[in-house]
């Protein structure tokens, strides 16, 4: 299969079940909502070592937020509800509450609930106030900038992590340019995030390692510098590979995100250095969700 002269490998992206929550951060203006969101999603690129994967889902209009201020919808993915229970209050407490003028609300109201304001309220040292509005409990925590409002809990939902595709290009510049466009297109799809810096991974990994203490290690068959040493997947002209990893709330949204992302990359064509599209396939060791590239692009 080819799109615009770019060969699509007959393979699939292998993804795995995760748990996710969505939170809404508001602030006096979008600039400060972004500052809080960026602080929260810092060091949240992969569950391999960060504990969670988090990214901005989209910007929200004042009419879409609980308090009528501009906001950011942000999603956090983890391997279990227990991991989310640990990550959410920590990250909201250290990144959102500390950002001037912010408030933090649940973006998923139903399903299993995990603590957010319920844990952070103790920062109020006895001066915190609980308010129930329309069945939702909010905590008013007095802070130096005024009042930090945080919803008591946020809902957790089943999700999928690790949807991906690989962009094989002549040079890093070619791969990067195409991937930037792909990430821009993927960011328009609701219910998905690309948690790695800039939405793409420069050091995609395989499952396991020769070292017992490592759960993941470099994916040597896609490393250009190892072409002569290993059973490489790369042909002579390929000099750089980038991976776009997508977490989503369901298979449909990941399908759609992969489809628009790959099409965006393919729009550059071979003349702009794009050689092939492949996907992270780990032989079924990683997870039960298989996103077949050719099926998605039909």
């Amino acid at each position: 299969m080819e799109i615009n002269g770019i060969f699509i490998d007959d393979t699939f992206a292998e993804a795995f079940p995760m748990k996710a929550t969505r939170i809404i951060i508001t602030a006096m203006n979008l600039k400060w909502a972004h500052k809080a969101a960026n602080a929260l999603r810092g060091f949240a690129s992969s569950v391999i070592a960060c504990g969670c994967e988090a990214d901005i889902e989209r910007e929200l209009l004042p009419s879409e937020t609980p308090d009528g201020r501009p906001g950011i919808s942000l999603m956090i993915f983890a391997m279990s509800t227990k991991d989310l229970e640990k990550q959410v209050p920590t990250r909201v407490g250290q990144s959102v509450m500390t950002t001037a003028t912010t408030s933090c609300y649940a973006g998923i109201l139903d399903g299993k609930q995990i603590a957010m304001g319920k844990s952070l309220r103790f920062f109020g040292d006895g001066y915190q106030i609980s308010k129930v509005i329309n069945g939702r409990r909010f905590w008013r925590i007095p802070v130096m900038h005024g009042e930090f409002i945080c919803e008591d809990t946020t809902g957790v939902t089943n999700a999928i992590g690790g949807g991906n595709f690989l962009v094989l290009a002549k040079t890093a510049r070619h791969a990067l340019t195409a991937c930037e466009k792909a990430v821009d297109e993927i960011n328009k799809i609701p219910g998905v995030i690309t948690a790695f810096p800039g939405g793409m991974v420069g050091s995609g990994s395989k499952v396991g390692s020769k070292y017992n203490f490592l759960p993941a290690s470099t994916n040597e068959v896609y490393c250009p510098t190892l072409k002569g040493q290993v059973n490489s997947e790369l042909s002579e002209e390929i000099g750089s590979v980038l991976e776009i990893v997508i977490d989503g709330l369901d298979e449909e949204s990941i399908n759609e995100a992969m489809r628009v992302g790959i099409k965006a990359v393919c729009s550059f064509g071979p003349k702009k250095g794009i050689c092939r599209i492949s996907a992270g396939n780990y032989g079924g060791e990683l997870g039960p969700y298989h996103f077949h590239l050719r099926k998605i692009l039909k």
Partner: protein, 277 residues
Amino acid sequence: MNPLIFTLKIQPEFILDVAQLTPDNLAGLNKTEIKSLKLPYGKNMVPLDTLFSVTGTDSNNIQINRSCEKLVAVGRYMTHGTINVNGNVGKILGSYLHGGTITINGNAGSWVGNNMSGGRIDINGNAGDHVGAGKPGDTFGMTDGIIKITGSAGDRVGDRMRRGMIIIYGKAGDYCGSRMHAGTIIVLDKAGKNSGAGMRRGTIILAKKPSHIAATFKSNGNLKIQFLRLLFTQLSNMGNEFSIFKEFGPEAHRLSGDLARNGKGEILILHTLNLRN
């Protein structure tokens, strides 16, 4: 389905307890059984059809027409469904309400929503004293739900209330929010003397500066209260009847107290020109 309509045939001479006329009590009863229900009327029990004509079938949606102040305990212990009353009602409207909606197109007596724990009461008129309060001897008044009064309310609104919200578009009497444990009271016109007397926690929001605030409330100054922005946005999203709250902004004069009880409650007096933008 047509609502189940009870229309008063006569204007009652004595107190008429209509607590039985709720969706919970009337579910599964046919019209004959409903007509033969006996209601406390003064010192006697009288068959329902001597006082009401009954039409319609949907017991989940009850309507009472030609109501008057003698009808008491409307919607008592109700858990679901709706009751619409055309005319005034007497005391203890919606007491111990757990769920559902009661709408009164007229005035209500005292003890509206006393000890209610959920649901909503809309009064398109005035209400008497002790709205959302607890009965004498009870620790708490209302523990959840919303009471909306488009007119004015009497004294001791929300006395000992534990949670929930009371919204009064008109005036409130003296001792508004007295002995509150928590919850929110909003008064859009003047409130009487001693608002918040003895309150432990909770929020009283006054759109107009009251003529009197007890000396046991300490001023925290004029502030932008983030919670007000959230509250007013949430209220204005609840329907057209709350659209007035779109106009209100977060600026208020905050007073905390009641210090006589070491309370951490608050009275928020909204700024006169406190528009959102």
